[in-house]
């Protein structure tokens, strides 16, 4: 019999912490005034948000004729950004729900911030289709309400209406999941608050949580069922987004591979954004002992996996276009790679297929610089992917007389920048006023996953003994 005994698992919480240390380390940053780095980022974010608000006001007033979209390229910048943001909004629920069901303890370090990120990203995403309606004050027409036009109900078998239900459900469920998880941690903030204002503020938000055994029992039951519900939900959301394309008759969109390919891409970009944010957060809030290299390594592994799935999907699409013998499909893909938008296609291929392969190297997976750099590259690549799918498939219509090019106007660019402003403003406020790491969850894994020299030595002795017994066979 020959096998290699695995090395002891790395601790998920470094520095031999006590429960008190955990509370203080994670809740500490919420006390007092934020640091200089926080203020710089906050001012930039609010400035972007204000500019975005200006651009939105501009095009709501003058109409979406101020956009670069035209009769041929009817979906462009807005839907690209919608799909991009909604993809980013997939990692939080994946981490908190699917990894909870798989009992992955490393999720405890990053789930709370990732869930917050999910909620803010979905808020940004939702703005694009709503504002694309042009006359946003008529937006309620998409809802099935009794009306005087028949009543004329919305088309319940249209993927666009499915999107309305999927995204609003996803937002609501993620928000509830996030907030019920946050309640015990807000109670911790309340009970350690010094000033009367803080006590009142966190007191109201904590809903009166006491930590009673019965309440914890119900809380655990609730978390587990919400995780069970969120798992198919998160998969359904991007599946339905992909149906927006896949159920159409546009060459390059009309493929059955879209749902799994979009879901993998969403997880891919979501984890990249989590990494970008967590690397900044752990540095600014000094949480290196809770968001360790081991966490970053685990997330990079998921990026490698989902990046490879996305790569396989791209190649499958190309193969199918050729193998189908469908001239339109073949032209759509040739045009993507060699047409006027070749740079977006090759940018996508490079950023999404080639760059994550660097993570096969353990050194790169555990390098802060490379992880940060590649996480940004992946998000640029995923933006290109949506641009490629949407714009390059549309701009050469069936009739060459309809052929056109698309480029965004300053209003559209400003709108996109504004959603960055919204996202980072909300995230920074969250990081300032709430614990960015799930305090109670960290405490519940502290004994089994925390660094503890005495326990490590004990385990090592057991393992060494076991290895000695097998030593003969191994050698």
């Amino acid at each position: 019999m020959s096998f290699k005994e695995s090395a002891l698992r790395e601790p998920l919480i470094e520095g031999n912490k006590t429960y008190k240390d955990v509370t203080e380390d994670i809740c500490g940053p919420t006390d007092g005034a934020p640091g200089k780095e926080w203020w710089i980022l906050f001012v930039i974010s609010v400035a972007l948000l204000m500019y975005g608000a200006f651009c939105v006001t501009w095009f709501v007033y003058f109409g979406i004729g101020t956009w670069g979209s035209n009769k041929t390229v009817g979906w462009a910048w807005d839907i690209t950004n919608f799909v991009w943001w909604i993809g980013i909004g997939h990692a939080g629920t994946l981490i908190s729900a699917i990894l909870l069901l798989f009992r992955q303890k490393w999720r405890t370090g990053v789930n709370r911030a990732a869930e917050a990120m999910t909620i803010f990203a979905v808020m940004c995403a939702g703005m694009f289709p709503v504002l694309h309606m042009g006359r946003v004050w008529m937006g309620f027409f998409i809802l099935p309400y009794p009306n005087t036009r028949g009543p004329l109900w919305p088309n319940f078998v249209s993927p666009l209406l499915w999107d309305v239900f999927a995204i609003s459900t996803y937002f609501s469920v993620s928000l509830m999941f996030w907030y019920t998880g946050l309640i015990p941690d807000i109670a911790t903030l309340r009970d350690r608050a010094k000033s009367a204002f803080r006590k009142k503020f966190y007191g109201v938000l904590s809903f009166g949580w006491t930590g009673s055994a019965k309440h914890w029992q119900r809380h655990e039951a609730l978390s587990l069922v919400l995780a069970g519900l969120s798992t198919p939900l998160v998969l359904s959301v991007h599946t339905i987004v992909s149906f927006d394309f896949a159920t159409s008759v546009i060459p390059g969109w009309h493929t059955t591979i879209f749902p799994p390919y979009f879901v993998a891409g969403a997880i891919f970009s979501g984890f990249a954004m989590v990494l970008t944010l967590m690397i900044m957060t752990r540095r600014i809030l000094h949480l290196e002992e809770y968001i360790t290299m081991s966490h970053i390594d685990s997330m990079n592994r998921i990026i490698t996996l989902t990046g490879s799935i996305v790569g396989v999907a791209y190649l499958t699409e190309l193969f199918t276009a050729w193998y189908s013998g469908n001239l339109y499909e073949q032209y759509a893909f040739a045009n993507r790679a060699l047409g006027p938008y070749w740079w977006s296609c090759w940018g996508m291929m490079f950023c999404n297929v080639v760059s994550p392969q660097l993570f096969w190297s353990g050194k790169i997976r555990r390098s802060i610089f490379w992880t940060f750099f590649l996480s940004v590259v992946v998000n640029i690549g995923m933006w290109f992917e949506r641009f490629v799918i949407i714009v390059t498939s549309l701009h050469r219509d069936y009739l060459p007389s309809s052929w056109t090019m698309y480029s965004p106007t300053w209003v559209e660019v400003g709108f996109y920048l504004g959603t960055f402003g919204l996202f980072f403003t909300l995230y920074l406020l969250f990081a300032k006023f709430f614990p960015v790491i799930a305090v109670a969850e960290i405490k519940s894994v502290l004994k089994t996953a925390g660094e503890n020299p005495a326990r490590t030595a004990e385990l090592k002795a057991i393992q060494d003994k076991a290895n000695q017994v097998d030593g003969v066979a191994v050698a």
């Binding site: 239900f165 469920v173 309640i183 009970d191 109201v204 809903f207 039951a221 519900l229 519940s444 004994k447």
Partner: protein, 181 residues
Amino acid sequence: MASKKFILGIFGDEDILLEAVPAIQEKGVKIHDVFTPFPIHGLDTAMGLRESKLHTAGFIFGITGTSIAFGFMTWANTFNWRTNFGGKPFWYVPGYIPITFELTVLMAAAGMVATFLYLCRLAPGVEKIIMDPRQTDDKMVVAIEIDEHSDVAAITVALKTAGAEEVNEKHIDNWYRYKIM
């Protein structure tokens, strides 16, 4: 009686607590509640709590969502106002699946959260008795309600021998202003 008295056993380790709870109960001391900063698996069974029925509530809410979504779409598209969408059948069941699924999940989740908040009497602004402010930080608090007939000394000894780090008393005046549980 406008005031209540509790004896609080403060524990610092969940493994000690898990053994302490049955040991205290064996001595005939009734535990009012245990407050912990994080969920401790096995504490509910050690205290003899019933299993949570929240799942059942979730199922009922979920099935309600399924029926509402499917029933409403059926009614709207076949009885109320028939609309021809691309020649598809009016009653187009496969096309109803996504919205039915989403509404099932939404109703199950929202219903369960509401049930959870109702059962635990949690709401914005609710104030409850905090036995010890450390119970949301690093200590586990075993609360035992006492009256004039209780043997305080015996309870204190039971808590200490079970491994309590401290034993305190807590008086709550006008307890009816709060929801203790």
